[in-house]
């Protein structure tokens, strides 16, 4: 073995310097991410507090006596007054807020005036149904939306692209309840291949709760009969709910992939003879998805918030329907609980999306920091 030359030694030294520099950068990136999360969580506290004030004030100043609404028009005034006192409705709004906020901090949203049950207990019963629906709608939205978008961009200005664009226009102009209605008529009424309502068919027994998501619980327990039945119940509501988001994702993906396809590095890759499929999945998809993922956080929150009509049509026992009923019946505690939980979902899904985007393209974050 020949001894190391001076040049070799210099090269080795440079390499080790480079390695330590890179590890420092990586560490800095990791620290930066932690600081980012802490910062965002800190901001979120203020956002949620602001939301709590807003929703509390709005629900209280809306016309209608909640105690009277809860007890009915024929309840004697002394009974109604008793409820007003118990719920602090007779006190100034800031005092009411203080009592309410104090109990919310303890995880107590109060008792629903309609169901007579603690709001949190009610929400814990209905939220999994909507979460499961939103997750399936989300999966449908991402998988189908991105596939259509990529195919449209890849086969730009061909019949594939035209078909993809037509599908996305169709998704954008069709409100979920219209698709739900037509879908129900076709698949449940005419073809009779899908169930029309609920989460499980009559006679099916709900699997013991682990996650409260029936499909997951059934799979964990190996109950495939219930899994298939729950899946069948999910298909139409999830597709109806995810259709709009799917169309938006398809359009954004198409535009983003198409723009990136014109970049020099793609041309260079093609000139090296790398197969198109490899370029698409290895070099093109990751940077193109940043724009798509940026709006996914909002989309997921919107799926939960907008599920009301779909839940109504399919008699889906969900969170959005619970929230809407609470608003119609001026169930103040339930309204506040629903809106706050929706706020938390929006805030956290956006933080997660920011982290994913940061992971996909750290430059975005660096630009933000430089601007700050």
């Amino acid at each position: 073995m020949s001894p190391l030359t001076k040049e070799d030694k210099l090269l080795t030294k440079r390499k080790s310097l480079m390695t330590s520099f890179l590890s420092m950068v990586r560490l800095k990136m990791k620290d930066r991410r932690i600081i980012f999360i802490v910062k965002r969580l800190f901001h979120s506290v203020f956002v949620l507090w602001g939301l709590s004030v807003l929703i509390f004030v709005m629900s209280r100043i809306a016309p209608g006596d909640p105690a009277r609404m809860a007890l009915g028009t024929r309840a004697p005034e002394e009974v109604v007054e008793r409820l007003r006192i118990a719920m602090h409705y007779n006190e100034p709004i800031y005092t009411q807020y203080f009592y309410w906020f104090k109990s919310v901090l303890r995880g107590n949203f109060g008792v629903s005036l309609v169901t007579q049950h603690p709001v949190l207990e009610d929400i814990s019963q209905v939220f999994p149904a909507t979460l499961e629906l939103a997750i399936f709608a989300f999966i449908f939205m991402i998988v189908i939306g991105i596939t259509i978008g990529v195919l449209s961009a890849r086969y730009n200005n061909t019949w594939v692209d035209n078909l993809g664009r037509l599908a996305s226009y169709f998704g954008i102009v069709t409100p979920p309840f219209v698709f739900a209605t037509i879908g129900m008529l076709i698949f449940c009424y005419l073809l009779n291949v899908l169930p029309a309502m609920g989460r499980l068919s009559p006679g099916m027994i709900y699997p013991p709760k682990i996650t409260s998501l029936i499909t997951i619980d059934a799979l964990i327990q190996g109950n495939f009969k219930v899994f298939i039945d729950a899946l069948k119940h999910l298909i139409l509501p999830a597709v109806s709910l995810g259709l709009l988001g799917m169309a938006e994702e398809a359009r954004i993906t198409r535009a983003s992939v198409y723009n990136n396809m014109k970049k020099d590095y793609i041309a260079a890759a093609e000139s090296y003879g790398i197969p198109v499929r490899a370029i698409m999945f290895r070099d093109l998809l990751k940077p193109s998805l940043i724009a798509v993922i940026s709006i996914l956080g909002l989309e997921f929150g919107a799926l939960i918030a907008n599920a009301f009509l779909v839940e109504l049509i399919f008699n889906w026992p969900g969170f959005a329907r619970y929230g809407m009923n609470a608003m119609l019946q001026k169930d103040l505690n339930a309204i506040s609980g629903v809106v706050l939980i929706l706020g938390i979902i929006f805030v956290f899904s956006n933080i997660i999306v920011d982290l994913i985007v940061d992971f996909l393209d750290p430059r975005i974050h660096l630009i933000k920091e430089r601007n700050e």
Binding site: H117, A196, M197, P202, N315, P317, Y322
Partner: protein, 529 residues
């Protein structure tokens, strides 16, 4: 290559599995499924609207049971006595009636049920608040209601009183607003079975459905009744139509539009059951607001309204004759009835103190709830314009109607409302609609506040003799027609779609128990194989 074939085979198997699983759903052999507004309150001390009562008549038992002729039959009470002064009603209970948890129904349970109802004060408690002084347990199977004052309709109201299981209530009391009784078991009863009725709760998914199964130990023979009853929380027309077509829904509730009913009637085997109910639609007039404080303006509107068009808008309805539908015992079948006559309307207006200044008094008509109410409101606007009155139509929400009704100032000039007699006596509706005690609620937005009328109703209620009491109701009805605080629109029918091909439903054949929603008592239904 082999790998690819294996993949194709695996995918094909998965697809076949899904296809196989798509065929056929397991359906209970004997079940009645009913689409209802949601959520119902199964607690008899809380819920009193149609869907709550539908659940309650199947889960609980009353002391006495109404029949289709307007009589009251022994049920949990095998007999009863009324004291000569009308101040004490004694009920002798049937021994051996069991609650769903197996404990026996006794006089203590009856007392607890009434005490709880009056303390909570919600639901139907208003029927007895101020009338019952105390409920007294005489022995295990004898209970007496001692009255504050004679209350003639007491027996007529009792089918709305359901007996709850005292033992379960007392075991499940949580902190609440009712003093030492805490929440009086409200949270527990909202989802748990404390009844003794022909059906008991099998599965209650609060946001989805209420499934009941037949009570095997029921004290009456219900062997031919359906095994299960499910209340499904949806009134969505598309879903209802789909379920009806697939025979996964046996009967609908009453809130479907005429268009939906028409399309349901086209489904093979489905028919529409229609019967005259105890309901009436009104256009209420706030008689404390100008120009409606002038009786001539009110009468002019009553003459100008086109009742024939309104009747055509609601199939099966008839023009109302006074404030109480003729289906309700004690109503006035010979009362005066307005008809459309623009000349008379204009003559009335000329007598008004506001004549020549009507443009200074634009009026507002609020509606909520159903398309037919909107049409009535538009009709009123058009008819009023024909005689020179301005009416603006405004759609509103139920909560706003309730809050606006609380004061004279916030109550609009007109409301379109439907109301029904809670028990089969004209006094039920007369009191709810016009007595001062209900002023400020959505049911009474006329603000009559008339001591003479109040006295007439209280006098009728204090009359024990039925015929004499009914005569007093008729007199009170005529008094109201004369004051014209409302436009008496329509006696509205109850219209429900049902599976006539395999369901034998007495109410659909005209055997209707009026006033308590006992037409939804599932034990009377027979399902043909």
């Amino acid at each position: 290559m082999l790998n690819r074939k294996v993949k194709i085979l695996a995918i094909s198997l998965c697809l076949m599995g899904i296809l196989v699983s798509l065929t056929g759903l397991c359906v209970a052999s004997s079940i009645v499924r009913y689409s209802s507004d949601w959520p119902p309150s199964i607690d008899p001390a809380v819920g009193s609207e149609v869907e709550s009562t539908t659940a309650q008549v199947n889960l609980f038992d009353p002391l006495i049971f109404p029949d289709t002729e307007g009589n009251f039959l022994p049920h949990v009470a095998k007999s009863w006595d009324v004291s000569s002064d009308g101040l004490a009603y004694t009920f002798y209970l049937r021994p051996g009636v069991k609650f769903h948890n197996g404990s026996e129904l006794t006089a203590e349970d009856v007392k607890c049920s009434m005490d709880r109802l009056l303390t909570i004060g919600e639901g139907v408690a208003y029927l007895w608040l101020g009338n019952i002084k105390e409920t007294e347990v005489i022995d295990k199977y004898t209970v007496a209601f001692n009255m504050e004052k004679p209350f003639g309709p007491f027996i007529s109201t009792l089918p709305s009183f359901f007996i709850v299981n005292k033992g379960l209530i007392m075991e499940n009391i949580k902190p609440g607003i009712y003093g030492e009784m805490g929440d009086y078991g409200k949270e527990y009863v909202s989802t748990n079975d404390v009844g003794s009725g022909p059906y008991m709760i099998k599965d209650f998914r609060r946001a989805e459905y209420l499934l009941m199964e037949k009570n095997p130990d029921y004290f009456l023979d219900i062997s031919s009744a359906p095994d299960e009853f499910q209340m499904i929380g949806s009134t969505e027309p598309v879903l209802i139509k789909t379920l009806m077509a697939k025979q996964e829904l046996e009967m609908t509730n009453r809130w479907l539009s005429p268009e939906t009913l028409e399309s349901l009637a086209k489904i093979e085997g489905v028919e529409i059951a229609r019967w005259r109910s105890n309901s009436e639609d009104y256009i209420t007039m706030n008689i404390r607001k100008p120009p409606l404080d002038d009786i001539h303006v009110r009468r002019a509107l009553a003459w100008a309204f086109d009742y024939d068009v309104a009747v055509k808008l609601v199939p099966g309805s008839v023009q109302a004759r006074g404030p109480v539908p003729l289906t309700v015992p004690g109503s006035d079948s010979n009362g005066f009835q307005y008809y459309r006559n623009l000349e008379r309307a204009k003559l009335e207006l000329k007598q008004s103190k506001y004549y020549g200044h009507f443009d200074e008094y634009p009026m507002v008509c609020q509606w909520n709830d159903s398309p037919s109410q909107e049409k009535d409101a538009m009709l009123l606007m058009a008819n009023a314009a024909e005689i020179g009155l301005t009416v603006n139509v405004v759609e509103t929400t139920w909560s706003l109607i309730c809050s606006d009704s609380a004061s004279i100032e916030t109550t609009p000039h007109f409301h379109i409302v439907g109301d029904e007699a809670r028990y089969p006596e004209a006094g039920a509706l007369l009191q709810a609609r016009y007595h001062s005690v209900t002023a400020g609620t959505w049911e009474n937005t006329e603000w009559l506040l008339d001591p003479v009328f109040d006295e007439m109703i209280e006098d009728a209620f204090a009359t024990i003799d039925k015929e004499e009491r009914f005569a007093k109701y008729r007199e009170a009805s005529r008094y109201i027609v004369d004051l014209c605080p409302s436009i008496f629109l329509l006696e509205t029918p109850e219209c429900r779609a049902y599976q006539a091909a395999y369901m034998d439903w007495p109410a659909a054949k005209g055997e209707v128990i009026q006033g308590f929603k006992y037409d939804n008592c599932i034990r009377f239904i027979k399902l043909n194989p």
